[in-house]
Symmetry: C2
Amino acid sequence: MQYPKSIERLCSLLHKLPGVGRRTSERYAFDLLLHWSEKERLDLQRALTELSGVGFCQTCGSISEGACSFCQNPARRQDQLCIVASPKEVFTLEQTREYSGLYHVLKGLLSPLDGRGEEALGLESLFARIKTQDVKEIILALDSSLEGDATCLFLKEELKVFPVSVSRLAFGIPVGSSLEYVDGGTLARALSARSSY
Amino acid sequence: MQYPKSIERLCSLLHKLPGVGRRTSERYAFDLLLHWSEKERLDLQRALTELSGVGFCQTCGSISEGACSFCQNPARRQDQLCIVASPKEVFTLEQTREYSGLYHVLKGLLSPLDGRGEEALGLESLFARIKTQDVKEIILALDSSLEGDATCLFLKEELKVFPVSVSRLAFGIPVGSSLEYVDGGTLARALSARSSY
């Protein structure tokens, strides 16, 4: 027996959220129907409308409400650029409170399998920034995935023409982890990058 | 560093969905912001609006668009009532194609810890139906949880004054399961309810 059409429609939309399978979408839809008040549902609709008003900084690509809180902040180091793949990761890095330079959000990662070549990265604006802002250091803060690795390698080559030092986030065992559960690849990297103690 | 207010608001709303923690709500919010088109977000808003139009059958409490597809269906056995705790479970049972009687959705389950006593079940309408519809069999299809068990026991007592046979869904090992992963309580119930083979 099929769910009513209105519930079906909601399910297939919620199914588009990352990691949400068919079952979970049904669970969400029925929760919204049975346990959310009319007011809460209206609030959610309003919050969705508000998303359209979220702006992105033309320079660095991070989320900004009005003036960019990074690019327009003179207290931040202007000669350091941290390259990330998504505006969300800017917040993740900010939460460490360990970085005080600027950011640059790529338009995507290289993924030959999905047909995303170098034009998908949107590098022109990065190169322009490096030249005009007199950038001295670039930190690649990309995923440790096939796409992330490929993009890092590609950027390392492309950035050779600029007088900048390029680094990538360190690999190693996660803080607080038990060696028993660390995979071999990570352990090998942690071993070769060991530091005197 | 805090997310912009519009994203914070959306996160705290999505956080209300069942099983969605703070991290997952952030993942959903950023997916909605970065990867959903304006049109998809509008579709979702519309689907949420449509939920307000979903109706419930006054008699059995299941979801109905216009006439109830159960109560108003003469092909279904009128003397059999399956008692469930939520309109969603009606669909779950229908998918088995093993039941052709009517349903009765309780308003909730007994939960003394949450202050939900017998008045929370909404039993008046159930009792009225049993009398007027000449119900002969009642099947308790409630969770195997503290609340479900308590409600089943309570209903069993309350229904003694009516000339109906009361049964509860069978306990046993799930179909396709390996004994190794079946918990002791389930195995004990499966053992005591074993059938000749």
